[in-house]
Amino acid sequence: VAKVIDTRKGRLLLVALVFAHLVVISRQVDAPGGGATLLEHAIFVMFSPFQRLVAGGVHGIRSAWTGYVDLRGVREENRVLRDRLREVETLLQERQHAAGEAARLRVVLGLREVLPLETIVAEVVTRDAVPWFRSLTLDKGREDGVLLNAAVISPSGVVGRVVEVAPHAAKVQLLLDRNGAAGVVTERRRVTGVVMASPDAGTGDLVMKYVSALADVAVGDVVVTSGFDRIFPKGLVVGRIRSVGAPSGLFREVYVTPSARFDQLEQVLVLKGTTPEPAFDEAVQ
């Protein structure tokens, strides 16, 4: 037996490692959301400081270069920005008026006040480095207040959720990942559905599923989070409807162009704390 083991050491090791992998993968598949294995966590904690160091260096060089390049054409940009500021100030006055009116109506109708979201600003350390999964690594982790399953957003829209947390790093599953999803509602007619990555590879689009075939949805409608998934708070912009598919049975598929620029993310906001659970009657509605 000893001789057989000695001569077939390599093959026995291969069989043992393959078996171990199958067990580790099966355990994760059987317990979705069960968190990371000890090995996964150890590797993530061990190497993420090096990644942060490299990402910091790249950021430093890039910002120095951008600073130099940006100096050129500053006067012209200044003029354009001043014009834009005037437009925005006018718009702001209109919005302030509308917000005041909305607050008054909210009081009249007895609705809950929308809670302000507490966030943590995080730098993107790595993004989308393998073709099969869509993920990001952030430079903020548990010790900065990042929690597992926390929603990650950018100023332009929803980005994804935290799936792995180390003391000073976190891994984010993008909304574009084939295993990601979010509960959504259209802003215009409050049509609910679930957005997930479009099955058409590489389009960068989202598809809104479980939309009633009779629902009133139109190209250009803004899609926001519904809050029913208990990960993303309600009212965050996800994207705009790009096209509406033909009804198939009870439902139709609606294609959504995401608002977040996933390929240009440098900083994101991680939501602190848990999302308030929607009230029962609100969920039914």
Binding site: G10, V29, F47, V58, V125, R127, R178
Partner: protein
């Protein structure tokens, strides 16, 4: 000593991939520096070294760049590393053309294994279009060939001195 160098190479691959994903995200999705390490280990160190390097590189890649279920890349790279080691023991794969071929085949097998394993375990992954897969194979083959040549020259130089 071999294990230390392999570990160091994996850390360098991780840092390189991190930097590349910041500077050129699209190119980072095409190149797989972790695969280059296990192919080189399989070619020069045999099946055991190839598969152990594959497991280590695959797991680091899985944890840092993979999805919510980790281990697909680890298992795929374990099998690829073993296969390269077995092939290197049976055939003469020292020249640039055979190495180019090994890198192309290793990339294709790695991609095929990852997508098949994910399908078996019912984990959704993004489908790699044939053109993207070919681009990945060519990029890995060219970069790998240059890298292997560079490492070989350094090792030869060290042996001479």
């Amino acid at each position: 000593v071999k294990a230390v160098w392999t570990g160091l190479a994996i850390v360098i691959a991780l840092l390189l991939h991190t930097a590349l994903s910041q500077i050129a995200p699209h190119q980072a999705r095409v190149l797989d520096p972790f695969l280059l390490i296990l192919v080189y280990c399989g070619l020069t160190g045999g099946e055991t070294h190839g598969m152990l390097a594959g497991v280590a590189a695959g797991w680091v890649q899985d944890v840092h760049f993979g999805g919510t279920v980790v281990g697909f890349s680890g298992l795929a790279k374990l099998l690829v590393g073993f296969g390269v080691g077995v092939a290197a023991a049976r055939f003469l794969l020292a020249g640039p053309v055979p190495r180019l071929l090994v890198l192309v085949v290793a990339t294709l097998v790695d991609a095929l294994l990852i997508s098949r394993l994910a399908a078996v375990f019912d984990v959704a992954t993004e489908e790699l279009a044939p053109r993207a897969l070919l681009a990945r194979a060519v990029a890995n083959a060219l970069v790998g060939l240059l890298l292997f040549e560079f490492v070989d020259r350094r090792l030869r130089g060290e042996r001479r001195t």
